[in-house]
Subunit: 390 residues, 2 copies
């Protein structure tokens, strides 16, 4: 296996624009990433797209080949990867294998999702395909109701209240306020959080991510290509770890509903690959789609004890200057969650942090960052560790 | 890169059964493949599923994680790959990278599709997502109408008649008649072919594949694992080549509508990898979804001159004892075309041919076989070369 480097990033502003067209959103993100990396199209051997809902909501599949064609890469190896809301990072995982395994020297990974053109009922139904249809979806469970089940169980098991989750949302909105590519630009306080509309008890509006559109792209390359780009002035960011862990789709089939086993496995694998410990991680871009997932992720990833994740960060540990910054550009909650694109946005933002180009959102001098993208309520969990090399 | 071997196969009978459940169809195929390979579940590090329509027609995504869980592999790396009708082989391509690149020693690839439970209009609409929605689908083009455009253009350009395509369908049905896992068991002659119902002029019912359900699986492994299985009596079948080529989705955007550029690229790449020439290929399991695709594939793959593909095989060259057998178990036309599963069925059947276990469908003593799985009307083309090692 060869080392893999992240040599270019591109993103569109996360938005809600029914008039936007998916392929041009992807084109914009990919073109920016290619330009950023300073490579020529002919160097690119593969394009992988992560997407969840296009077949259902925009009647379009084969996005891999489509995006390759749109950006002038017609002919290259291309395909689409799907792992529900974890699609973007799962696509990246394939890209890492393609470059790391010696199949291509340069690969483009694009995450893209367009959801706001459909009526909300259709979008809700499309997102519910991430759940186990026979055991959950068919019984009327939606993505929100499943997260509500998790949250209610957590509150009951550990004796915490809705208010205990508020600081996750407040921190995300604080960070998202200065992200020019983010969707929601609104600071909130505990009162706003507590008064936000109840969606499915106990999940309130400010516990959940917004429905939105967006595309992001990264360029993966060999050390040789990365060092050539480095000589042209680009930073050197290595993919020190890349792993997928899985679990049952249905919550009731889990060994312990309060443990995200996919997060446990994925984190363990990626940290073993990188050869680092928890204390080495300077940023954790986790999948904060719902505040309950933030809490459970902090526990399963090993940053908090079981039942204590919800309290982690109440003293500022998760802010940009804290011990373990999360959601540094607003996370899924405020930057937005265009599902199949989210995992790639996480990598784009992490790259910016590690290269000191995060502007107002900069975390002080990070070296290792862990990104984690979750499909469904935890059935597919994709983690990457990015390392700044000097 | 390490050599990759195909060490086990499994398939379900292709069927039309609205009552069948997708996950158990996949489970059956995977369990058979695992049992065939004689490996233990703990040896398997990854599961990739190829699927096209489940998100839309069965409200189920994350099939990778779902199938892993159903077969007792909960926790392993898993995801879904989509490339329309080319999904099965595209998933295999990822499996090849995972094993060949040194990421896993054993990977399972499953292709699965369940389509007959939906009403035909929904299935037709789901299949149309393989086309370019903005340029084709939105104008009412279906998969059949696009193939009709290709066929009409071909007939006009080269001055051939509908009758000229008949021998492809006749050969497929002849071979499918003795395939116990096939869907259609009906021999046809030229009269039956010519009298079959017109779907979209000039595509007749017997130019097109049936809508059906099915799942197939293969086990990919390193040489070390394959040699261990070999010592237990299993044959040694190497993946001598694996490649994807792409083209525009929309027919009107092609450089030459009469040349499947994705087939040209994919075939060239896979043959370079295998280091073999056209005359070395003993079987060509091509993507005979429509008789026009058979014709264009034979040309673009380099087995017939441009405009002459339709005449190839009129003298028996494509039968099981001919110079270049195709559709040896009935192909997409008679074995059936459960779209995301088709590419894996091709590998399963080719394995049987190369190992001399094809029964009545056996081709005499083949050493090299080329499989080719096509997404849409040629936008994503995935080729594999399998080699019998002694």
């Amino acid at each position: 296996m060869r080392d893999v480097y992240l040599i270019g990033i591109g993103q569109t502003k996360v938005t809600k624009n029914a008039g936007i067209r998916g392929r041009y959103m992807a084109e914009e993100a990919i073109n920016r990433a290619v330009a950023h990396a300073g490579i020529e199209l002919k160097q690119i051997g593969m394009l992988v797209t992560g997407n969840m809902t296009a077949g259902r909501l925009t009647h379009q599949q084969q996005l891999g080949a489509l995006h390759a064609d749109v950006v002038g890469l017609r002919g290259v190896e291309a395909a689409t990867v799907e792992a529900a809301c974890g699609s973007g990072a799962a696509a990246t995982r394939w890209g890492v294998m393609a470059v790391g395994g010696g199949f291509h020297d340069v690969a483009v990974v694009c995450g893209s999702e367009r959801m706001t053109h459909a009526c909300l009922d259709d979008t809700t139904a499309a997102l519910a395909t991430a759940a186990d249809w026979e055991l959950e979806g068919i019984n009327g469970e939606s993505f929100i109701s499943l997260n509500a089940r998790l949250m209610k169980r957590y509150m009951h098991t550990y004796g915490v209240t809705s208010e205990d989750f508020g600081h996750f949302a407040i921190t995300a909105h604080e960070n998202g306020f200065t992200n020019p590519n983010g969707f929601l630009h609104k600071k909130i306080d505990m009162e706003t959080y507590l008064n936000s509309r109840m969606l499915v008890d106990p999940v309130k509006l400010l516990d959940a991510p917004p429905v939105c559109d967006g595309a992001a792209a990264v360029i993966l390359a060999t050390e040789e290509v990365a060092r050539a780009a480095h000589r042209q002035g680009l930073p050197l960011i290595k993919i020190a770890g890349s792993a997928i862990g899985t679990d049952s789709l249905a919550l009731d089939s889990r060994r312990d509903m309060m443990v995200l086993e996919g997060v446990v496995l994925s984190t363990r694998r990626v940290m073993e690959q990188a050869g680092i410990k928890h204390e080495d991680i300077d940023i954790f871009e986790l999948h904060d789609a719902y505040t309950i997932i933030t809490s459970l992720s902090l526990e399963a990833a090993g940053f908090a004890e079981k039942g204590k994740g919800v309290h982690f960060g109440k003293n500022g540990e998760i802010t940009r200057t804290g011990k373990l910054p999360i959601s540094t550009f607003g996370g899924l909650k405020s930057r937005g969650h265009p599902v199949g694109a989210t995992g790639v946005y996480q990598l784009v933002e992490t790259y910016m942090q590690l290269t000191g180009t995060a502007g107002e959102n900069q975390v002080p001098d990070p070296e290792f960052a862990l990104t984690q993208n979750v499909g469904g309520t935890g059935a597919t969990v994709v983690s990457h560790i990015l390392q700044r090399c000097s």
